[in-house]
Symmetry: C3
Subunit: 206 residues, 3 copies
């Protein structure tokens, strides 16, 4: 089994929940499940809720953690039922990580170097930083690397990445947004946004 399968268990669309957390997270989780978005990456700064989340939704969703985490935090995440870790930064080769994980890179040379160092899919973070056409350019430049873009990707951008050969996409702050003000994640709105990405899951599930 590849690292990618080990980490994402075949899911091709992962919803990364916003840093800072979401007030009404149970309602949001319910909507995501209903709309077929069943792979979630929980933010590093909300680990104290993770155990409750996995006990409520661990059977209906594939739940991991995302962000910069210390060894202690990773151990706590694993104990709380996390199934994978998305690291936005490279991870030292000799670091003992208690979860299957993917690590991030950005430029073509960073992505190629990451794939040379470790036989695993590479996260492209932040995937929206190098422009929309990077979705088509990068896979050509690193043809043998499994790529998983992670960023503020609208649905059409996810489609571009997947059509260009990306193994999966991690959607940050688009379906569920940072709650910097009230009403950001009104459930009907989250449902509408989730439905659009749910179609993407349906289209891209083998």
């Amino acid at each position: 089994m590849s690292v990618l399968e080990d980490a994402l268990a075949g899911h091709r669309v992962v919803v990364s929940l916003p840093a800072g957390g979401i007030a009404d997270w149970i309602a949001v989780a319910e909507v995501l499940v209903q709309e077929g978005l069943r792979a979630w990456a929980w933010p590093a700064d909300q680990l104290e809720v993770l155990g409750e989340l996995t006990s409520l939704y661990g059977r209906r969703a594939h739940i991991g953690v995302a962000g910069v985490l210390s060894d202690e935090q990773l151990a706590a995440a694993a104990a709380a039922g996390a199934r994978f870790w998305l690291s936005p930064l490279a991870v030292d080769a000799d670091r003992a990580v208690p979860l299957p994980y993917l690590a991030g890179a950005l430029t073509p040379n960073e992505v190629a170097a990451a794939a040379r160092t470790r036989e695993a899919a590479v996260l492209v973070t932040p995937a929206d930083a190098l422009g929309t056409s990077y979705a088509r350019t990068l896979p050509v430049l690193v043809p043998e690397v499994e790529i998983v873009p992670w960023g503020r990707l609208e649905r059409y951008q996810c489609e571009m990445w997947l059509e260009a050969g990306a193994s999966a996409v991690v959607v940050q702050d688009v379906v569920v947004r940072p709650e910097l003000s009230d009403g950001v994640n009104v459930i009907d709105e989250v449902g509408r946004r989730a439905a659009s990405f749910g179609q993407l899951v349906a289209t891209n599930t083998p």
Copy 2:
């Protein structure tokens, strides 16, 4: 003779042909020659046509290959008459390469590191990823490095790079486009686009 001269033979505008190839490549090649675009980089996935291309156009055009190529592919490209290789990624210093080549980097530190590692011009790939103003910013940051941007560069962007001190430009998928649908490379259209870049060649030829 510098690596740059060795590879590009004084050409300052190189047309990189699209991955996936072009159906009517002889007509396209003819138009490029007529419009003064006489340096071409052939895509890595179309090497089987390269021998025919160089035997037909090798005297009228300076023809190389572009993309990620294995040692076997490079040997085949050299045998088929390629004169240079454009690698979008860094190339291991101890790799034996049978053609004069330029290798790619993106960020200022990557470009500076590439120039430190190897006394040669550095490709900036993908040159359109860091915004239009990068054409003016990068040359100031790496003042002693010969820079060759490579990407989806419109003519005004090529002008910006050349005016800011770039040694040459490699134009990808703008003059000749990926044939994802019919009619992408209608010859009249290619001619019109080539003419615009041909003026750039005329202006920038010593």
Copy 3:
């Protein structure tokens, strides 16, 4: 005292003067002081004026140098009264630098690596290359790193970076612009632009 304090002395908004210099630099310096912009980075290609600048304004402004400088140039800058150096590129760890300095990186992994190599704030250069949202994304990815973005940053972008946790911002070619044509830095215009950034200083001074 941290490297950051040592270099910037508590200033959170630094004006980086354009390469190529400014014809009427005394009038410009006067306006910057009046509007409360009292930290300046002088361009590497105008070192011959630096001594005069520091003798006229060294008490009213905190003056350093910015750009790629050789050891000889750094020694000359220090002798001419420069108080800090902003290097857009990484600096070799074993290089003897006669001024407190900050060095540049761009991608999340470059920034993280720079902070691991040297306990100091990291310049993000060019800070405008990875899109506006990078101001919010990067600080989350390198949570323990002091970040100082440097680039063509409009005031709202400076605010975004500072709100997201940046330690300071270096504004290039926005308040005072490259004099590629006449009338670029008409004093009234510079004053108007400086006033806007001066408010930013007032808001962000402890």
